[in-house]
Symmetry: C2
Subunit: 257 residues, 2 copies
């Protein structure tokens, strides 16, 4: 199934699943959608925090069709699930945005770690959360984001345990992909970035770490979602966690060297 | 002082010091010189173990002038000190090879970590052994080299303690320089590579590690010297430790991306 074919199924209401494992060679995108009044501040927030919020594409106010992300992409209908936050609280879980009345919403498409995970797997680096069919473990850190307007908060990271030699390879590989979070931001001792207990993630599932492994931490796309919820805007739309926009952008084209 | 000027002073007997800190923008080379009868096996050893033995240049039997390494480079006279090993034992400490009778010696010039240390310092990564004017700490590991002919033994590594964020940067930077050992081979727990006590290096000086630091290990140019001594060849010539050949090769030109 191509990304185009998958999006057609989504649009037809025939696909409502998490997108992990589908169209693995193509980038999947986190979505954050805010009113025009907050879009400039959120754009600055992304540019100030590029490790957590690497922008794949930004729409104009009211623009839903985003060809930059793929053939005939319509953000309102081509994502397998949406969350609507009102005043910072989850208000609705929708399968389409067709009914949204607001005319001036701005779409932000943010890179996703699925892209670099594909590159790690291709390099024979094992990823336990995938082998165990779990969500990756994510943690709030003590690293403050660069604030912009109402958006601030702390960096959220994802963690993948691996052998030291794989961790070194993973730095090399992910450094090539700044559009999908890039290099790790931390390796080793979790307390140094304010994580007290690796077995108690703030998001996702806990994962075991073997004695010969080291935890490797990447900036995570949950960071902007966390920041935007704490900003308690009247309305924010995001993809439903795990239910990403599958783009036509081959992961390989995101490599900067 | 240019590398050419430094080599002229060496040739004139006016410079007999360790070369660390001189001509910092240019690559310095480890030298291993063996008889033609062993050169093929040693070349294979280098090619099989490129992290420890990255070749900058290899001479023909009897070739002393190596323009590939710099203008008018004469290996017999342009290195500030030489060690002569006979049957694996240090036999002489010479300031020139002019008196060597053997006509069929083959010169191997091997990349040196001074080059990547310059790149790390330029990236504002602090290197404690340089700040404390010590030799870098080096350790024999439990990682077996790929053997070739009489050459085998275990990998020797150098260790530099740094903060995790600098360790990640150091992987990125040194990955660009495979000709001078490239990326680290290990990060973190020393026992995983057979090092029982970081405070007891096998070569060089012990160095303190702060609580917020992680040890980062690179393959080291002492590996081939160690291997070649254990092979107990009738004759091996090396540079005197720390007294390197200063080449005309700018470190920056060794970057592969």
């Amino acid at each position: 199934m191509t990304p185009f074919e998958l999006r057609k199924k989504v649009r037809a209401g025939e696909f409502r699943l998490p997108t992990a494992g589908y169209c693995g060679e193509f980038a999947q995108a986190n979505l954050v959608i805010v009113a025009k009044a907050y879009a400039d501040a959120f754009l600055r927030f992304c540019l100030l925090n590029p490790r957590a919020c690497p922008l794949l594409s930004v729409g104009q106010p009211g623009q839903w069709v985003m060809e930059a992300l793929g053939q005939d992409v319509d953000i309102r209908t081509d994502v397998p699930g949406y969350y609507i936050y009102r005043d910072g609280e989850l208000a609705e879980d929708l399968s389409s945005l067709a009914g949204l009345a607001e005319a001036d919403l701005v779409v932000f498409a943010i890179g996703c770690s699925f892209s670099f995970e594909q590159m790690l797997l291709q390099a024979n680096i094992r990823l336990r959360h995938i082998e165990q069919k779990k969500n990756v473990a994510m943690y709030r850190t003590n690293i403050a984001n660069q604030p912009a307007g109402p958006f601030g908060g702390n960096l959220v990271v994802s963690m993948r345990p691996m052998k030291a030699s794989d961790a070194i390879k993973a730095v090399q590989i992910t450094s090539r992909f700044p559009a999908v979070h890039g290099a790790p931001i931390h390796i080793g001792e979790p307390l140094q970035i304010g994580i007290a207990d690796l077995q108690k993630p703030d998001f996702g599932d806990a994962i075991s770490i073997n004695a010969d492994e080291i935890p490797v931490f990447w900036a995570c796309g949950v960071t902007p979602q966390d920041a935007i919820r704490s900003a308690r805007l009247p309305l924010v739309v995001t993809h439903k966690p795990g239910h990403m926009l599958v783009t036509d952008i081959p992961n390989s084209t995101l490599a900067v060297f």
